[in-house]
């Protein structure tokens, strides 16, 4: 069985995340860049199949700047077999359509039984790229699963809002939510062997993509002023009354 896991390098949610006020792009210098936690969970689904059946090949792919190589190395150290890094200055600032077309082109170069991704990245949060990849490949999307049962021929899983059980024969595109099983940590052996695993860098020309039209643009970006702290009081038996008085004074209740 061959599984493609789509990953994204994002700013660490635990740190400050900023947009470049000039371009509207993510300010990648403002915080630590990490593999999106949701994508690590997507990789975990694939690695659990590999735990059961060693013949399973797990490939991770990303579209991202040169620094995204580190995210792919992390995935290799967790247990993925090889990585594909689409890195091309012409693709900087790609919108979701361009991103989906690029990832679909990566998927078309080989024959994958399953394509697994997070349901939405923790930075852009658009959550449409997997559906677009599915449509471009003519595949079903078994989406937003909080638990997944994947076999070599089918996928079945539970979606949480509303609660529904979905299934599909493979090949299919699968997305999981942050309720899906937590990802493993890379072990020492994984970290050592990751350095020897293949990590292919591809340009859009390698993928046979020529058109670079971006179909949407950011017009303006503004930053909300930081929220100032109000007053903090210690309860001395009258805090409830003070809260109600505060809200009434503001005509909030």
């Amino acid at each position: 069985m061959k599984i493609l896991v789509l990953v994204k390098e994002v700013p660490d949610t635990y740190g400050e995340r900023r947009l470049d006020l000039e371009t509207g792009y993510l300010d990648r210098d403002s915080g630590e860049q990490v593999v999106d936690e949701i994508d690590e969970r997507a990789l975990e689904v694939a690695l659990q199949i590999k735990d059961e059946d060693k013949s399973t090949e797990v490939v991770v792919a990303t579209l991202g700047p040169a620094s995204a190589k580190d995210a792919l190395r992390k995935c290799l150290s967790m247990g993925a077999d090889r990585a594909i890094h689409v890195v091309d200055d012409a693709l900087a600032g790609s919108d979701v359509l361009r991103t989906a077309q690029t990832l679909a082109a990566v998927a078309r170069r080989e024959t994958f039984d399953a394509i697994i991704a997070g349901n939405e990245s923790t930075d852009g949060r658009s959550g449409v790229v997997p559906a677009m990849v599915a449509e471009l490949l003519g595949l079903p999307l078994v989406g937003s699963l909080s638990s997944v049962e994947l076999t070599s021929t089918s996928v079945r899983g539970v979606q949480s809002t509303p609660t529904a059980t979905l299934s599909s024969p493979l090949p299919a595109v699968i997305t999981i939510t942050e309720k899906s099983a937590e990802a493993r940590f890379p072990n020492f052996k994984g970290i050592m062997t990751a350095k020897r695993k293949p990590l292919d860098a591809l340009t859009q020309a390698d993928l046979g993509l020529t058109e670079t039209t971006v179909t949407s643009e950011v017009l303006s970006v503004s930053e909300r002023p930081a929220r100032a702290a109000g007053s903090v009081i210690t309860d001395e038996g009258d805090a409830g009354a003070k809260i109600v008085a505060f809200l009434r004074e503001r005509k909030a209740i």
Partner: protein
């Protein structure tokens, strides 16, 4: 005025989803609204909707920013190679193109975006537009070359608690965190919510601990709320939680821990035991 197509999502019982009336209001603001719906799953709905978009060339096609709405939007955009703008909280028109406003990183940044190219597909955040009248959608004809669908083996209709306002659109939200301590203790959060006519929310920690279902979760990976009043009970205020509520007009935080990060953005913070303070609030409300 140019036509604005919008896709009406239906509940499992066939009734129109709450987003339908919101999308009608959103579409009316930028053009002449045309309501459509389609039978079948998201792949076939997308194929049918793509035909309608290609034929009618609307100034924009709107969908709710839900799991289903996003799948249909993505598939339509991929089929037609048209732009897709996601999670709009406001819409406007500049010349002959639609401009969408987005709230990014929990409201820390506001961006506007527009399509380069015709017929953009736009998903609209639930609760961002005040619902007006309910639309009467036309059902689109099925299309033969739709992509395959996932099979829905079973679906449980969403349990709607009609006694409380909807979390996404409520004017007042009372949320509980790990400090509430147990599923049973969560009743105190509900008591305060009911005393204020508020919706009930929770932090991820409270959801992970099993106090309440995931649908209550406010934050980065849950619901984003922007109420007039947000009252946080026993929530420390991890950055992921703040991302979902920091645009509230007034924030009240009650926590035993004086160092809780939520106090940094609260308009009024109370260091104290929520099990003592909440009954005081309920008493004071009666006066």
């Amino acid at each position: 005025m140019a036509n604005v197509l919008f896709y009406v999502e239906k509940n499992t019982d066939g009734s129109l989803a709450a987003s339908a009336a919101e999308l009608l209001a959103a579409a009316s603001g930028i053009g002449t609204p045309v309501a459509v719906t389609a039978a079948g799953g998201p792949a076939s709905a997308a194929a049918a909707l793509a035909v309608a978009v290609a034929e009618q060339a609307p100034i924009a096609t709107l969908l709710p920013n839900t799991i289903l709405g996003r799948e249909i939007a993505g598939r339509v955009a991929a089929r037609l190679g048209v732009p897709v703008l996601v999670d709009a909280v406001d819409l406007g028109v500049d010349g002959d193109r639609v401009v969408a406003t987005h709230s990014v990183f929990g409201g820390n940044f506001t961006t506007t975006s527009a399509a380069v190219g015709a017929n953009p597909v736009i998903t609209v955040r639930e609760g961002a537009f005040a619902a007006g009248e309910a639309p009467t959608p036309t059902e689109l004809a099925p299309v033969a070359d739709a992509s395959p669908e996932a099979t829905v083996e079973s679906i449980e209709p969403a349990v709607v608690d009609s006694s409380r306002p909807d979390l996404k659109t409520a004017r007042i939200v009372v949320s509980g965190g790990r400090g509430v301590g147990s599923k049973e203790n969560f009743a105190i959060v509900e008591q305060l919510a009911d005393a204020l006519g508020a919706a009930v929310g929770a932090s991820r920690a409270a959801v992970d601990a099993g106090y309440v279902p995931q649908s209550y979760q406010v934050g980065q990976t849950g619901v984003t709320v922007s109420p007039d009043v947000y009252i946080a009970l026993g929530i420390s205020g991890a950055i992921q939680h703040r991302a979902g509520m920091q645009t509230a007009k007034t924030i009240i935080a009650i926590n035993k821990d004086a160092d809780a990060p939520l106090f940094e953005i609260a308009d009024l913070g109370v260091v104290g035991d929520l099990f003592e303070v909440v009954p005081q609030i309920i008493d004071a409300l009666k006066k």
